[in-house]
């Protein structure tokens, strides 16, 4: 597994081959860890790819530069998707993805800033990443206004829709509407599922857009799997020091991309078994990636993904 894995050599992580590889590595991470949250990771793929592809100012060789854009995954359980994206951008080798949820490793089960500085804050207790994002946006705006940094960084915060039930999120949105940091961008992964059932039946958010607008936010609703629309949207955002913060409701499918995982609850926090992983990879790539001779057992290391690593391809 991952032994020969390379990220597809594409000039954009929003290209289909790349999106497939991100989904593949999400599933493989969770398969190897034997636990994790595939549904809410798969729903994030296009959102993250469209942000990190061209709309996220960063330097891989200087990941902590003070004027970098910031990203907070407030719905911390979707972090395998973020790890895949960061690896695909070159922040760390894909081999590290084998270590999701392993003791002592920086790829903790939920984002851990003390072990992995790019996480920007530690999340996993829902609702809190939103406030930290607000503070980052205010602090960076202040630093920019005092000339301590030469550009106004963007601060992206991705929330889950179950997470919107946390009171702290609404405290934060109220304050965001007051202080108006124009560099603050919330994205809601509106996959309509949470552990115990659909968001609609557990604690409905509707009328969501009306509520958000009433909090003085600049609200847009987009297809959370239309990667070009998302990319265009983030590129078109004008980031000013003082303006209504942006809130994107991105309609998504939990488990997106794998037919049998597209369900509001079934794959919230369940790791795929080997047969399920194989079926998922078959769907993604139209066949098991590497032929395993008849009679030979399928090794634990399932997929060197020949398809992605064959010379000359992509």
């Amino acid at each position: 597994m991952f032994m020969n894995f390379q990220w597809p050599r594409v000039d954009s992580i929003t290209q289909p081959d790349s999106l497939k590889a991100i989904r593949q590595t999400i599933l493989e991470q969770i398969f190897l860890a034997k636990s994790g949250h595939p549904g809410g990771s798969l729903s994030l793929v296009e959102i993250l790819a469209s942000i990190f592809d061209k709309n996220f100012e960063h330097t891989v060789t200087n990941p902590e530069r003070p004027d970098r854009d910031r990203f907070i995954l407030s719905k911390g359980h979707g972090v395998p998707a973020l790890y895949s994206i960061l690896s695909s951008l070159g922040f760390f080798a894909p081999e590290e993805l084998r270590n999701l949820r392993k003791f002592g490793h920086f790829l903790q089960g939920h984002p851990d800033k003390r072990r992995f500085s790019l996480m920007e804050t530690s999340t996993g207790s829902l609702g809190q990443g939103a406030s930290v994002g607000l503070g980052l946006a205010l602090g960076l705006r202040l630093a920019f206004s005092k000339g301590q940094i030469s550009r106004l960084p963007r601060v992206y915060v991705v929330l889950g829709d179950g997470e919107m039930q946390e009171g702290q999120v609404w405290e934060c949105l109220m304050a965001a509407g007051k202080f108006k940091p124009g560099n603050l961008i919330f994205i809601l992964d509106r996959n309509r599922g949470q552990i115990d059932g659909s968001v609609e039946e557990i604690m409905s958010l509707d009328p969501l857009e009306d509520k958000l607008k009433a909090f003085n936010l600049n609200v847009s609703t987009l297809d959370g799997h239309d990667v070009s629309a998302l990319t265009r949207f983030f590129a078109s955002l004008e980031v000013k020091s003082e303006s209504r913060p942006t809130f994107v409701v991105a309609n998504t499918l939990k488990g997106k991309g794998i037919s049998f995982m597209e369900h509001p609850t079934a794959w919230h926090g369940v790791a795929p078994k080997k047969i399920e992983l194989e079926r998922a990879l078959w769907e993604l790539f139209g066949g098991l990636p590497k032929e395993i001779p008849e009679g030979e057992p399928i090794p634990d290391c399932i997929s060197p993904f020949g398809r992605l690593t064959l010379k000359g391809e992509v």
Binding site: S131, L136, L142
Partner: protein, 334 residues
């Protein structure tokens, strides 16, 4: 032994008594001129926490977050992660009541947030239990990497504030609503250093009793020790136990070598987990043979004037004196 001199000279009577929240507010506004990274967040209590002084001078670095403490703490963490030095202030009960936000966004994320909780203990008086911080030391002390400090007077408050700006890491400071008398500092011992308690008396190795007091009860404990020393015709040691985490293990070790058979902790805070808690933990792990009397609060607080509350909970010099006398007699009659 001229005991009156020892105890009374522990006070600096040239200075007026002052609430530690006011010392904080004044010093914070001064530090704001020195370091432009300092920002302040309050939750609609700036006139009580005294961050209003800073707000008046540095409007662009003051954020009134409204009555929304969970978001206040998270926002402070974000400001810290952006390179600022945020002071997040409210009543101690409301601030530490948002324990999960402090646990996750501040402590676990290693955010350089300075938490300041005012209105400590039953000493606030009439507002009653809901406004009294009584478990805040316990809650903050349990968090790895969290520095916890409770000043006894103006000097302590200002010294810790300056230290906390230079220190990179989360801190919690516990302040009082009511005025506190100034303690005397010997010129050569004025260096303020991490985890070092202050021995307020002369240090007689024959003392049968040592009193570790913190915050608002340091003054009454000195007075109580004076009465005790007269009654027992012995010197009683009193310590200003201002550092809660880290605390002065060195001084505890020194006392463990001495003859005092009764140790006393005094705090306007629950007896579980605060100063008394940390001393009892230390004594148990060390195998210290002395007995520990924990003076503090063990039930919900209630309304009453500060004076009435102080008497009811036994926090007057007389109340402390009586509790220690009784415990000492019981110990000797065993």
């Amino acid at each position: 032994m001229n005991s009156a001199n020892v105890y009374q000279s522990a006070f600096d009577k040239t200075q007026k008594a002052k609430a530690s929240r006011l010392s904080f507010g004044e010093e914070l506004a001064e530090l704001g001129s020195v370091d432009s990274r300092i920002v302040v967040l309050d939750a609609d209590l700036s006139k009580s926490t005294r961050t209003d002084i800073f707000a008046g001078k540095f409007a662009d670095r003051f954020f009134n977050m409204g009555i929304a403490e969970a978001n206040l703490i998270g926002t402070a963490a974000g400001l810290a992660n952006a390179g600022m030095i945020p002071f997040a202030a409210s009543f101690g009960c409301f601030l530490t009541g948002r324990f999960d936000q402090i646990r996750m966004s501040v402590a676990f994320a290693g955010a350089n947030v300075k938490l300041v909780g005012t209105h400590a203990g039953v000493g606030i008086g009439e507002d009653g239990h809901s406004q009294m911080a009584l478990e805040d030391l316990t809650l903050m002390r349990v968090l790895p990497g969290m520095t916890v400090f409770q000043p006894a007077d103006d000097y302590d408050t200002r010294s810790f504030l300056k230290w906390s700006v230079a220190h990179k890491g989360p801190v919690y400071m516990r302040l009082t609503r009511q005025n506190l008398p100034a303690l005397a500092r010997k010129k050569d011992a004025q260096q303020f250093s991490v985890g070092k308690w202050q021995l307020l008396t002369e240090g007689n190795s024959e003392s049968p009793i040592v009193v570790f007091a913190t915050g608002s009860l340091v003054g009454p404990s000195i007075e109580a020790a004076e009465k005790l020393s007269q009654k027992l015709n012995a010197s009683i040691e009193v310590v200003n136990a201002n550092w809660i985490q880290p605390y002065d293990e060195f001084m505890l070790s020194e006392f463990a070598e001495r003859k005092a058979k009764l140790w006393v902790s005094v705090e306007d805070h629950y007896v579980t987990g605060g100063l008394g808690g940390l001393i009892s933990e230390w004594m148990a792990s060390r195998g210290c043979p002395a007995r520990l009397l924990k003076i503090g609060v063990s039930d919900f607080g209630q309304s009453g004037t500060p004076e009435v509350n102080s008497q009811a909970y036994g926090f007057t010099p007389e109340g402390i004196f009586e509790k220690i006398s009784l415990a000492f007699e019981n110990l000797n009659s065993r």
